[in-house]
C-alpha cells in the first residue's frame, strides 16, 4: 500500500493545529491574569513609595520579588508552549498511525 504525502500531511496538520490553538488560548488566559496582578502591584508600589508607606530599600526588595514572579510566569508559559507542541506532534502522529502501520506492515508508529 502506497502512502500519499499530501493526504498524510493534511491529516497531520488537521490533528496538530487544534492542539496548538488550545495551548495558545490557555497560555494567553494565564498570562493575562498574572500580568494584571503584577501591573496592579507596580501601581501600588509607586503609590506606597510616594506616600512613604515603604522606603526605597523596601521598594527595591519588593521589585526584585516581582521580577522573580514575572520570570516564573514566563517559565510557565514556556512549559505550556512545550506541552502544546508535544501534544500537536503526538496528535499528528496518532492520526496517521493506523494507515502508516498498515502500509509498512508493522507497528512503526
Amino acid at each position: 500500500m502506497d502512502l500519499n504525502v499530501e493526504s498524510l500531511a493534511e491529516q497531520m496538520l488537521s490533528a496538530a493545529l487544534p492542539a496548538l490553538k488550545s495551548g495558545a488560548e490557555d497560555a494567553a488566559s494565564f498570562a493575562r491574569t498574572e500580568c494584571t496582578k503584577m501591573a496592579q502591584t507596580l501601581v501600588d508600589l509607586n503609590l506606597q513609595l510616594a506616600s512613604n508607606q515603604i522606603n526605597q530599600q523596601q521598594a527595591a526588595l519588593l521589585l526584585d520579588m516581582q521580577k522573580s514572579a514575572f520570570r516564573n510566569v514566563m517559565l510557565t508559559l514556556k512549559g505550556l508552549d512545550l506541552l502544546a507542541v508535544e501534544a500537536a506532534i503526538n496528535a499528528a502522529l496518532g492520526v496517521v498511525a493506523t494507515v502508516v502501520n498498515t502500509a509498512v506492515g508493522f507497528a512503526l508508529l
Binding site: D2, L61, A69, N72, A97
Partner: protein
C-alpha cells in the same frame, strides 16, 4: 550548487512520463515543514514526543505544603502586625525548597521547574530581608505586596505542574489508532 528536491512516485500513474513532481511544489511550505518536523520527532523519541517532564505527585505536594506554610505565616502578619520575625519559619521553608530542588534535579526534563524553584528561593530571601528589617507593627503594604508576588510564583509553578498531567494527551491516548469513521 544545485538545490536538492524531494520526489515522490504517483500511485495512480503507471505509464507516461517518468518524471515525478517535487513534493515541495505540490504541498504548502508549512505542511512540508510539519511533516519533516514530525518525522524527526518520531525518529528521535520512539514515536512519542516528550519535550518536558512528567507530573510528579511528591513535587506537587511539596510545593503545596510550602505555599500553605507561607500563607499561614503571612496571614499571621496581616492579622497581628506585631508578630515578631520568625527565623524558624524561613529555616523550614529554605530546607523544604532545597529538598524539592534536589528532587526536581533528579527528574528528567525538569529544567523549567528547577529554574522556577530558584526564583522562588530568591523571592523567599527577599521576603526574609523585608520581614527581618521592618519595624513592628509591620506595614500592611509590605505584607500585601510580598503576598501577591509569592502567590504569582506558587500559581505559576502549580499551573505548570498540573498541566504536566497531560489530561487527554497522554502518550497512549495520543498514539492510539484513530477510529474509523462510520
Amino acid at each position: 550548487m544545485v538545490p536538492m528536491k524531494i520526489y515522490t512516485r504517483s500511485p495512480t500513474r503507471k505509464t507516461g512520463s517518468n518524471r515525478s513532481q517535487p513534493v515541495a511544489s505540490r504541498l504548502t511550505r508549512p505542511a512540508v515543514a510539519l511533516a519533516l518536523m514530525l518525522s524527526i520527532a518520531a525518529g528521535l523519541s520512539g514515536c512519542t514526543a516528550k519535550l518536558i517532564g512528567d507530573y510528579d505527585d511528591t513535587f506537587d505536594q511539596g510545593i503545596t505544603a510550602v505555599e500553605q506554610k507561607t500563607e499561614l505565616y503571612i496571614a499571621k502578619l496581616q492579622s497581628t502586625p506585631n508578630t515578631p520575625f520568625d527565623q524558624s519559619f524561613y529555616d523550614d521553608i529554605t530546607s523544604r525548597l532545597a529538598v524539592l530542588k534536589t528532587r526536581a534535579a533528579a527528574l528528567p526534563k525538569y529544567d523549567i521547574l528547577i529554574q522556577q524553584l530558584a526564583n522562588l528561593q530568591s523571592q523567599m530571601a527577599d521576603f526574609q530581608k523585608l520581614d527581618q528589617t521592618s519595624p513592628r507593627p509591620i506595614s500592611a503594604a509590605i505584607v500585601n505586596d510580598a503576598k501577591t508576588e509569592l502567590e504569582v510564583s506558587f500559581e505559576s509553578i502549580l499551573k505548570l505542574e498540573l498541566a504536566l498531567k497531560r489530561t487527554g494527551t497522554t502518550p497512549s491516548a495520543a498514539m492510539a489508532p484513530a477510529k474509523a469513521k462510520k
